[in-house]
Point group: C2
Chain length 361, copies 2
Amino acid sequence: MKTTIEDVARLAGVSTGTVSNALTGKRPVAEETQKRIFAAMEELGYQPNLLARGLVNRRSHVISVVIKELSDLGFYGYSSAMTGIQREAKRLGYSLMLHFVDRSSDEEISTTLNQIQARRSDGIIWAIHEIAGNRDWVHDIQDKNYPPIIFLHMHPDPFLNVVSIDNRSGARMAVAHLIEQGCRKIGIITGPMDWWESQARLEGWRDSLEKAGMDPDPSLMVAGNWLTDSGQAGMEILLNRHPELEAVFAFNDSMALGAIHTACSYGLSIPEDLLLVGFDNMPEASSFWPPLTSVRQGMMKSGQLAVEELNRIIEANESEYRAPRQHILQPELFIRRSSMRGLGQKAAGSSVAQEQQNKSQ
Amino acid sequence: MKTTIEDVARLAGVSTGTVSNALTGKRPVAEETQKRIFAAMEELGYQPNLLARGLVNRRSHVISVVIKELSDLGFYGYSSAMTGIQREAKRLGYSLMLHFVDRSSDEEISTTLNQIQARRSDGIIWAIHEIAGNRDWVHDIQDKNYPPIIFLHMHPDPFLNVVSIDNRSGARMAVAHLIEQGCRKIGIITGPMDWWESQARLEGWRDSLEKAGMDPDPSLMVAGNWLTDSGQAGMEILLNRHPELEAVFAFNDSMALGAIHTACSYGLSIPEDLLLVGFDNMPEASSFWPPLTSVRQGMMKSGQLAVEELNRIIEANESEYRAPRQHILQPELFIRRSSMRGLGQKAAGSSVAQEQQNKSQ
DNA sequence: TTGTATGCGTTATCAA
DNA sequence: TTGATAACGCATACAA
């Protein structure tokens, strides 16, 4: 905690400038002195003070990640996005600073941004899920001189840097698959409807129905809250409303699990009596019973891409203007037993094959 | 990003020292000049540079949190511990830096510690779950001059600062409760046995059995991996081995959920045919079907306490020696329908009552 | 290839 | 109550 570059210089019999050069490698240093310097650093247990370095370089090599306080971290999607962020950050030499926001009030947001600025973070990844209107603040920050911001998992906007996933397309694939299997009566269990993700997936559902010449029936729709038990409850409602239900598309895997459970207690078998598709493709999905067909979002990839993009912006010479970019990643469908109609015991085998094929892509 | 204390000073017509005094409040400033200074800061959109401040103060007001890379973040326990950490950190004026470790190799650990030291974090919360021997490195760091470390959720050690939860006691309560309900044949679905938590809970199971004069039968024990599907599989094994099984204690709620599912597909009703208890008391537990009896650990509290303790150590005058402390929090049992023997439909009502009573504590 | 001197934005010490 | 000045630990332009 105490040894400085000067201590090293003294011990190695050189000037501080030379030590700095040896450390950063930005200027050549004679091999022999280099050895002496490293030996001295080793002996003293020297660690460069990144605060001081950041001060003079005007570059902290810190990225701030802003997330919603409580639950988000617990969702599979968020935690795998964090993994992607983290890996890429480590690769590019950034440390991660974590900032939490709970109510998303204007005041809280500006406090957070000010703190990030005070810490001199090099960039921001804004990873708070978008609900109605909570992104309005971005219009007021033009003159604030905040570091560059990437919006993760948000509705694309031509004036912002966005890395997102095509939820609508993912839902489209899921529903189209069910229609292909011959289902007409397809219920959905959505997430909270003020989430952008829910809205996009709902549109995907409509897309595929319309393309097949079917009408989206509102009574086939029930809203959940992402958690298992809401899937359970949602399934009950759907089955009571439509005893002849042929398939269900749950907007995430946890709710699909709840749906499986309800089906089981109603004496219904999946997929014999009812097909089921989820969303997220969480690791457990393949070992549900039956194994669950699901949409893989690629959150890890998006997290990684966010850091990569952010780094590109940071590195770009400030003078040259760089137009904001929007990256929209395509999800993919993993087909498993829960959505394979009319297959008996033999189906298990072929579903495995299908999955392996998908995985190797 | 550019205005400095000097700009503010110039605009307000005072010296930089005075601006600093007005900002930190450490020395008195005339009310009138104070006003001018704040007005100037407002006008320029000034944000203090915390890198510079940290450099001269030798205090970054940053706490480093070290966690395991992938899955951990997704577990309910970890994410609520993070919430506790975050809230207390915000309250005490700390920012949070996040460091990820995956393989826990010695090399990776020392790289991480070096980076933390280079960033001049004020303290460390080590929140990597303890598995066999991965805490050995602590013996080698005496001379490294690292900032103070709190070990979160680890086996207590008189030479370290530890904040942990009494897993053994929690398991004891769970099993004692099942015995009280009249169960003799009690199966357990454990976590991975190299986790400290699993071992402690196993001991708790033994404790309660022995106290009741029963023998811990190894064939009543099956190991899971914390995830839902392993609970499902574990339950199958237990039921095949012991068709006369009376109760199951799952080492977390996710696995308990899997167990419920298996029971359902075996045509068994809970609690009529089989009692079930989980661990974690995650929010969904109360809306499982049946609502799940579970052990609440209080992870949020432990996270908060870790920061509080760390801050105490940081603030303590370096000169005075401060003996390491171990804080062991007591869990509590939430009794719900899944473990209420011999109650019919009427039971639902009374279980709710019991829960409310617990919640109001 | 190396040394010297200056500045990065703050706080703290000492005078005024 | 305020102002000048010297650190804090490092990087760099300029000289040597």
